[in-house]
Amino acid sequence: MQKGYKILATGCALALALSTTALAHEPVKVGFVTELTGPWSFFGTSCIAGLKLAERHLNPAGERKIEFEVVDDQTKSDHALAAARNLDVQSKVIALSGPTSSDTALAINGYAEQNRVPFIVPVAAFPQLTKPGTHYTFRIEPDAAGWGYAIAQFVAKRKPSAKIALVYSDFALMRAIAAGLKYSAPKVGLKIEPEIVFPQGTSDATVQAAQVRAAHPDYVVVIGAGGFDNTLTNELLDIGIKPDQIIHPYGITTQVLNWGQRSVGSYYGTFFDANLDKLTAEGKQFVDQFRTQNGRPPSYIENYCYTTAYIIREAIDKNPSAADDREKFRDAISALKTKEPTSGIPIVFDKNGARKEYMYFMQIKDVQKTDYKSKQVFYIDWNPEAIPVYDLVK
């Protein structure tokens, strides 16, 4: 009888050892739901281009392999939610990631929090993604209301008591930036006048450009969406606003290239740029490789998706058991104290999954057909709750 028990116990131990070994050799799957088609397809495909570069170095021999299962959400919230559910239930991914749109990210955020799936958001700036009480969502991009705070600090440093004209498109992202700026500007002695909001679908702003000029502002903060961003910029320049009066809260590569040579002297905010003063060796390599492959330099979108892959690698390397347990994976991400591999900027998440925030301001120096030069003129970092972001943007 005793011999029988011994055989059974040995068999169980062997089966357990074999299954653990098998698990250890199985790749860690991460669901990557992003915008490959639909209105946001440029951002989703740019993100994937950054992720693919990271994947080249992500799985050194001898380490547990990490695999990204990429799914297109067509820039639709219901598709993003369905994809998240499928990746959770069918593919049993350890975590979700991928959106570059706040709308799709919010859809996945609800699912992730309810179903306790760790969710790493590479590029989505809507503050409510990490509202108080958030447990499983981690946002890598600083929140949009904070960008407004950063613009106020930048302007106050350049010209105390300056008057700012604020012109923006009526989208959630732009409203959040404007809310942060309107809250922060008076606190540092800045005045905002006029404030002009453009509805979605606007194509002309000549009249409003004339109104801006009539107000004689020191700076004009221009937050347009898509093609209208460029129209708005051109019309301000046409009517006599000087390039160095214009501040764009964010500038991705295609925007800077379209603003063109006539915008030399203008400022834009960013979180990563090929022209930063201090790129790491890996950052320089990332820029070169990206430029070779895509014919243009990367911007912060590609960098954040590249960085997302490294965050996941580091969390698993520091805590191997996190590779097979979502709660441990969530704890590993939450406890992470690391740096962006490309710029060396620290990555630390607060209790709600928001990252300690930062922003660079660049001044455009030269623009060619597929490349541009800009100079870093300001850097700021701050605690995510330096302003009441969750009250400003509901």
Partner: protein
Amino acid sequence: MSDTTLIILLSTITTGLMLGLIFSLVAVGVTIIYGSIWMPNAANGQFFLLAALFAWSTSVSWGLQPALAALLVIGSSVPLSYALEILLVRRFYDVPNRNISYFVLTLGITQILSGIFSITYGVWSDQFQLPPLVPGVTMLGPFPIANNRLAAMLIAAVLLAILFALLRFHRYGRALRAVFQNRDAAALRGVNVRGIYRMSFVLGNAVIFAGGVLFACAYSFDLTIAWTMAITAFAIMIIGGPGSVLGALVIGIVFGLTQAVASIFASPTIAAFAYLGAMLIILLFRPSGLFAR
């Protein structure tokens, strides 16, 4: 009058005219097709965008002069329209209530084109801008206006004038108007009704393409412009009276000016809805449109 007031006044007028002329062109294109073959062309916004994107490809990627690129793109609408007419449109000429069939058909075309744009142009950039047709700025008193925009405005006005003259004085125009009014009577008078259908489809699309190209010359754009333009063109056609070219022309310009004026006295947001509100009020009193016969 102070310089500031003059600048705001002139910017309002030029913006109103610029938008109005583009709206008119597209609405005239839509109404020519509707008046002739009863096709409510839901794909007009996508055709408009297709023209703008072609113009971007030919001038930015191929490096053609913008004026040459514009001519090439407008010219390309002719074989494209012929192909569509032969493959799809003419099959419905004898279908009763074909306007519903056409609406569903063009919705399908809209979906297909929208999908194609999102996996091609949508991946290449989030915004598109053509090199200037005419570089530099012209001063209208104290108001600086980009030559590019001025040129687009003038070309749009000339095109509309030619179109109007064609429809009013040319044999083809008279035949087209006869078909608009009563196709059976026109057929009895020897008008080749099917030929007019085909020509109307080609002409209407060429006008929509011209609108798209001129818009791309005057403004930066992205893929969302298709929806905005589709809704605006339909609204203009409905207020002007479906099938009324004069209605589309007049109401298009009124729309543009209304938007510009409302944006300065109220806000750009109210301006965007002002014309839709006006449309509802006008339809309460003139359900068949202001210029309907």
